[in-house]
Amino acid sequence: MSDTTEISVIVPVVKLLDTTGRLTRQYLDVLESTGRSFELVYVLDGEHEEFLEHLWAVAQSEPRLRVIQLAKNFGEASALTAGFESTKSPVVLTLPAYAQVEPDAIPKVLERLRDCDVAIATRAPSHSSSSRFKAARRRIFHWLVRIATGQTFSDVGCGVRALKREVVNELPLYGDQYRFIPLLATRRGFKVCEVTVREVEQGGIYDHHGVSAYLARLLDIFGIVFLTRFTKKPLRFFGAIGSTIFAIGALLLAWLAVQRLFFDVALADRPALLLTSLMVVLGMQVFALGLLGELIIFAHARDIKEYSIERIVN
């Protein structure tokens, strides 16, 4: 890679990929048409022997294509991070390894970086019923995200994102968090823009969302709520829940004791005693977890910068 490369295009190859090999060509053609210098970096998350063969075949005649292979499956966030780390260009573009949007729309996304720090593509559904179903699913997900975080996006899951290097440097990614790049970037104070593009019809094979996928998305939302609201103050989260449970349990326990002492209601055969003492115990445990969380933050407070500086004069 030369230092004058303007755009690093990173394609994480995780599970879904275009096996025909047509997409790589399309990407190269579209990037060529922007007239800016670029490199195309494929990051293979684990073994993808067949695809690797295909990439090598393309790379024969295309010096701007690079391939990075992770030693085993680490997931999309790791693949992206590996791509970010191995490039230096001022602009980073991530693209999906399968046809998600019409490739012609990619320059439009890049264009938006003129006035934004992050530009993400937003898929407008085509008219088929499966596409409409997916669009509805997406709307529900983003509605939940909006309730949870207060941020309005309509398609955070789209793999086409253009980012300025400074954004990449400030966003630590792990697990499933690549999905939340726009949310995390907004939280750091970066300007995120959405560019509406046409969705590509993928056929059935790419579209198996089992129950586990939905559960995973729900966990994602829970995770992002915790991350955006309580990272620095875990006790506010655990403490509020824990002390509520504890207080209810303790009050009921006291009531049981009063009943036993003054109204002569036998205590020994009441399951309510078990329930209330369990609540006291559970409340204390949740609270203790919050304290541990606070201690973790306090012990590492100086490593976690809470602010993001745009500019310093003098």
Binding site: R188, G189, F190, K232, K233, L235, R236, G239, A240, L267, A268, D269, R270, P271, A272, L273, L274, S277, L278, V280, V281, M284, Q285, A288, L289, G290, L291, L292, E294, L295, I296, I297, F298, A299, H300, A301, R302, D303, I304, E306, Y307, S308, I309, E310, R311, I312, V313, N314
Partner: protein, 329 residues
Amino acid sequence: MDLSIVVPLYNEEGSVEPLYRAITDALDSLPLEHGAEILFVDDGSSDTTFACAERLALLDRRLRVVKFRRNFGQTSAMAAGIDLARGTYIVTMDGDLQNDPRDIGQFIAKLEDGFDVVVGWRFDRQDKLVSRKIPSRIANWLIGKVTGVPIRDNGCSLKGFRSGVIKNVPLYSEMHRFIPAMASMAGARIAEIKVRHHARQFGRSKYGLSRVYKVLFDLLMIRMVSGFAARPLAWFALLALPFFLLSTAILTWQVVALFVGSEGSLPIAGAGIFFAALCFFLLFSGVLAELINRTGDMRIMKASLLTATERRNRPRAGKQPLRDVEFSQ
């Protein structure tokens, strides 16, 4: 450099210039050998605050302006200013002209006297009684009781620090209220001095009655960290103690009942077992906390080195003993 003045600004376009003039006037009258710097931290203002400050900075090398990408809150703005400050002493103040830069001299004098943290006390506070002064009275009383550092005015932004001390105090979320408490953990010598306070001239107040539970949980956390940060196991053991006593009593009673011949009761024995389990959980949490302490960088613990002094001579007459809060005037 002798002195850094850190001022967080949030939508204070009207105040920037008068504030800058007031600070530079105050600085000019101070006998500083190695100069001073002013750090304006623009906390993501939506008005022209940054532009105003930048214009001033272009004419004066002493003024540095930091621009946040978005609004991160006053504590973050102070933390950023303190992180970037280069002076031996750091004075923080509000950007709304309610603090008076002419008081800075007093702070320097106290710091020169050997205090590590000097806290301003707005003894003649110009704010609304019900919405601002009374809640703050209660909060200060509570914070003093819980942390053991009886500062009369924790909310006053006008504070002076020895740079090495404050740079090692963790400042995040809304922790600026607890700076004196945390600094005293590191053995800082704290003094409180009276400062002037003016009514608001420009803009409007950005505080309100914040939710009480936040402060309460923060206090609890500070209590834990400040009292027992060095040995959290002891703290968790203390939490476990009442439940230990309770479960021991219940279980002994049940076992004795068995031997005496009367039948034990399942719910009562069960409750005893729950409480015993809680004891174990809390004790193990304490062990985990010890582990966290080991791996974290508890800089505040290392700050004890910064506040330690070599005592070759007897202390000067009239100087307060270590860790005592001095109230002057």
